[in-house]
């Protein structure tokens, strides 16, 4: 098959010139990733608006771009870009300006290490990942928590009481949930004997959601918290503190902050699929054998996304002290229990 010939040629070249290969992959990958995750996140926003509309017995976008409102987000983006760029008088200017940019950088850093599916060639899965590092699971966790800094920068620099309260809430919440989330990742790594996301996926003959159900539940809740979505959206609770840390932002700066949430939502769902739902593993589909892992992968991601949107449409918000209470007093001990479980069962599996 000619596909395998290409792969052989490329890998032979990569062995010859490892530095140039890494650079080329990095550049091409960065371009592709930024395109993919941005378009992906736009699709997520569209999906959420449409699906939430259905849940709430209304239409959602249905004017711009056919009756499905497909171009609505393009229109919104144009609107945000053309809006007046205003910075509040009392704001800490550099911090205020850099907060949304740091948020964008964070998501890019996360995206770099995440495999976006795989191609199945001659019965072997080739993952689509830019930076396939040994500790990618750990790295993704660490990079995700940089988001906290962006939130605090936005809240602190705005010189606004609502923003400040929102930032406090955001940080209290994220710290309380990063820890159990990290412990869950460790439990997965223990079973997979690796911190590499690709290897974690490959080792899932039995999905880790079944091997460690407790860890799966905790990770899902921690993920929703980390994404700052209802019932854990205290940092931007509209009815209490206007828009939390984004109160003073407008135009495209606000757009960036807002869009990060959806990129994070997409990346978070992918992470959940990779760690617990078997990634792209699945039987080959005839005719499109090459794409069959992609099909399985995207299907799982879509289901997770719909689940997240559904949660948003059907729950009310926690109070911030209840969130931290739940995080420290329940999630952390339970995640440790799960770690112990993973250690024993992991031994048995190995």
């Amino acid at each position: 098959m000619y596909l395998s010939t290409i792969i052989e040629t490329v890998s032979a070249w990569a062995a010859q010139e490892p530095k140039i290969y890494a650079l080329a992959i990095g550049l091409i990958g960065a371009a592709i990733i930024s395109a993919v995750i941005n378009i992906g996140a736009m699709a997520v926003v569209w999906l959420e608006r449409k699906f939430l509309g259905d849940i709430q017995a209304r239409f959602g976008p249905n004017r711009v771009g056919s009756r499905w409102g497909l171009l609505q987000l393009g229109a919104d983006a144009i609107k945000l870009f053309t809006k007046e760029d205003s910075i509040p008088r009392g704001a800490d200017k550099p911090v205020y300006v850099w907060a949304p940019i740091i948020a964008s950088i964070t998501t890019m850093l996360v995206a770099a290490a995440i495999p976006f599916g795989a191609l199945r060639i001659d019965g072997k899965d080739y993952p689509l990942v830019v930076a396939n590092m040994d500790i990618s699971a750990f790295y993704v966790e660490a990079a995700l928590s940089i988001m906290t800094i962006a939130v605090f920068m936005a809240g602190f620099s705005s010189n606004n009481k609502y923003s400040m309260l929102g930032a406090f809430r955001g940080i209290a919440r994220m710290i309380a949930y990063e820890v159990p989330m990290g412990v869950c990742v460790i439990a997965v790594a223990l079973m997979a004997h690796s911190l590499n996301l690709v290897e974690i996926v490959e080792s899932q003959t039995l999905w880790y959601a079944f091997a460690q159900p407790l860890g799966f539940i905790i990770f899902t809740i921690a993920l929703v918290t980390d994404l700052g979505r209802i019932p854990f959206d205290q940092s931007e609770a509209e009815e209490e503190i206007i828009a939390g840390y984004t109160t003073e932002y407008g135009g495209i700066r606000w757009g960036l902050l807002y869009f990060q949430e959806y990129i994070n939502m997409l990346l978070g769902s992918i992470l959940l699929v990779l760690l617990f739902l078997g990634g792209w593993n699945g039987p080959s589909i005839p005719v499109i054998t090459v794409l069959s892992p992609m099909v399985w992968f995207l299907m799982k991601v879509l289901i997770v996304l719909i689940f997240l949107i559904w949660v948003r449409g059907s729950l009310v918000r926690f109070r911030i002290d209840q969130v931290t209470d739940l995080g420290w007093k329940w999630m952390l001990p339970l995640s440790l229990v799960n770690l112990a479980w993973a250690a024993f069962v992991g031994l048995y599996f190995a």
Binding site: I230, E239, F318, R319, I320
Partner: protein
């Protein structure tokens, strides 16, 4: 009555027993506090329902009418009048006896300039600071700026570049040096800033434009971290002066204004006003009209509770919490029924003196029954849904608890009071129309927290449906309107009439001087009482609870600022 006379010989100057539920007495201003204390301690008058000021300019007197009644021990309403001379009017304050006398007395002070001795915080409540000292509800008030001089508001550019329209004091008065005496008091801002004790505390504004406010009012929270240490409330942003406007309109025109007091309770507001005027005229509407009025009042209760609950739920979980939309869809059916009777969706102006405007449309009962049946199923579903939601119960249970004692002391009424285990409902306490013939129960809860308040509202929807179904079965044929003269001129006198608003006790006090226009109309609204009780209730809560507590009260600013 005789008990008062024997206890305080010579103190009662005048008295009139209107019925077994209304007692009008005029007492000596010097002995007002003693008599009130006697009534409160010995005669169970534990509910201070409100107070009204009346400017009797012809007799050169001010009247202050204190409305006292009881939370269920008996059903007598005492309207106790005190007459004071017009120059240097001063009355002893009742705030020492009834906590909730505070706002009513502040309002009378700012509107009539009647001083209340011993009032702890005699600051303006509804009026802007520029207007205080002009006493706008006195009969000799000429408008501000004086409408006879043709002055208008003056445009001023402030130091921050914003243009403000300021009403300046009359130039002639400044020249002549006879400016009215401006009372001295600390402004709202100064009062709240005086409470900041340390650097870790700050004041956070909620309103006048904020997601939690159902209309513009300012709720300032003194917070330390997430804890509310003290709350300050400023109302009056949309004060419309409806009471004063109604003095300048004929009786019939006044009905239109009662609609505008609260758009969710326009039928009950109509009812309260028309009922009071009917008492003045001494007529009762025909039975069919009474049934129609009950049906409409209960329909308006259902739609108000649905909107109140739905709106409140969005406050808990952003606008994405779906039951809100479903409640609005259900409410649409009810509004459709009301529209088919009155022709309007919000401002009905349907109740008339001695009857109603139109008859029920043909086939109304057949149309209403399936809608009501569906409504009942849906309400039960909502109750189930909210009851089984763990996050919802975590947010609501034990939040903003009003003990029965506190609830009575703070003077709240309606669902919040009934949620605090006090079966106090005007339909029982002061029965009007055909309510005595109908079977319904007064919904109460023991807990007194935010969850109980919402539960009471939802269960009241079921009771209202039950009432309407009975009405549809029992409604007789007949006329819908008493014969009345074209020009309505009641005999000089006064009447006080109470109805159960969707939000609680709504009373209207009308004074007639025998002309075509009411001499004075005083509205005692339920939301006014809630709002007054809100700041003490918020102390010690979390910021997120503020939303739950304020929302569960189901406020309507429009009625506070009527």
């Amino acid at each position: 009555m005789s008990a008062i006379q024997s206890a305080f010989p010579g103190a009662v100057l005048e008295s009139r027993v209107e019925s077994d539920r209304r007692l009008w007495i005029t007492v000596d201003p010097k002995r007002l506090v003693e008599i009130t204390q006697f009534l409160r301690d010995k005669k169970d008058f534990d509910h201070y329902s409100g107070a009204a000021g009346v400017d009797r300019i012809n007799e050169n007197l001010f009247e202050v009418v204190e409305i006292l009644t009881s939370h269920g021990a008996h059903q007598v309403v005492v309207l106790m009048k005190v007459k004071v001379p017009r120059d240097k009017p001063s009355v002893r304050s009742l705030t020492g006896l009834y906590w909730n006398a505070n706002w009513y007395e502040r309002e009378i002070w700012e509107m009539f300039g009647i001083n209340f001795e011993g009032h702890p915080e005699l600051y303006p409540l509804l009026l802007p600071d520029e207007l205080v000292g002009y006493w706008p509800w006195r009969k000799d008030f000429k408008g501000y700026p004086d409408t006879t001089t043709g002055e208008r508001a003056i445009e001023q550019v402030g130091p921050d570049g914003y243009t403000e329209f300021k009403i300046m004091p009359h130039t002639e008065l400044i020249k002549a040096g006879v400016l009215p005496e401006r009372p001295k008091y600390p402004t709202f801002r100064e009062r709240e800033e005086a409470e900041i004790k340390s650097d870790s505390e700050m004041i956070m504004h909620m309103g006048p434009q904020h997601a939690i406010v159902p209309g513009p009012f300012l709720l300032d929270l003194l917070i330390e971290g997430e804890r509310v240490k003290k709350a300050f409330l400023d109302v009056g942003y949309i004060h419309k002066g409806i009471e004063k406007i109604m003095e300048n309109r004929t009786y019939l025109q006044g009905i239109v204004y009662t609609d505008r007091m609260c758009y969710l309770a326009s039928i009950t507001n109509n009812e309260a006003y028309c009922g009071a005027v009917e008492r003045l005229l001494g007529i009762t509407p025909p039975e069919r009209a009474q049934y129609i009025r009950v049906i409409l009042a209960e329909l308006s209760r259902i739609q108000s509770h649905l909107l109140g609950t739905g709106e409140f739920l969005t406050l808990l979980g952003a606008a994405t919490y779906s039951p809100f939309q479903y409640m609005i869809i259900d409410r649409e059916d009810i509004v459709y029924l009301m529209e088919s009777i009155t022709g309007a969706r919000i401002t009905h102006t349907f109740v008339r003196f001695g009857g109603v405007r139109n008859d029920l449309p043909d086939g109304f009962a057949d149309k209403a029954r399936p809608i009501l049946k569906r409504m009942r199923e849906r309400t039960e579903e909502y109750m189930d849904l909210l009851h089984s939601d763990p996050i919802y119960t975590r947010r609501m249970r034990g939040i903003g608890v009003l003990s029965p004692g506190d609830a009575r002391r703070l003077g709240v009424s309606g669902p919040p009071l009934r949620a605090s285990d006090t079966p106090y409902d005007m339909r029982r306490e002061d029965p009007i129309l055909v309510y005595p013939d109908l079977d319904f129960k007064v919904v109460t809860r023991k807990a007194g927290d935010a969850e109980a308040r919402v539960e009471v509202r939802l269960e009241e929807i079921l009771e209202s449906i039950h009432i309407i179904e009975q009405c549809l079965d029992q409604i007789p044929d007949g006329p819908i309107q008493e014969k009345l003269p074209k020009k309505i001129k009641p005999e000089p006198g006064e009447a006080y009439y109470r109805v159960e608003d969707p939000r609680g006790e709504m009373g209207i006090y009308v004074v007639s001087d025998g002309s075509e226009k009411p001499y004075r109309v005083k509205v005692r609204g339920p939301v006014y009482a809630y709002m007054q009780a809100l700041p003490p209730l918020l102390e010690g809560a979390y910021v997120a609870d503020v939303v739950a507590i304020a929302g569960s009260m189901d406020a309507c600013t429009s009625e506070v600022d009527r």
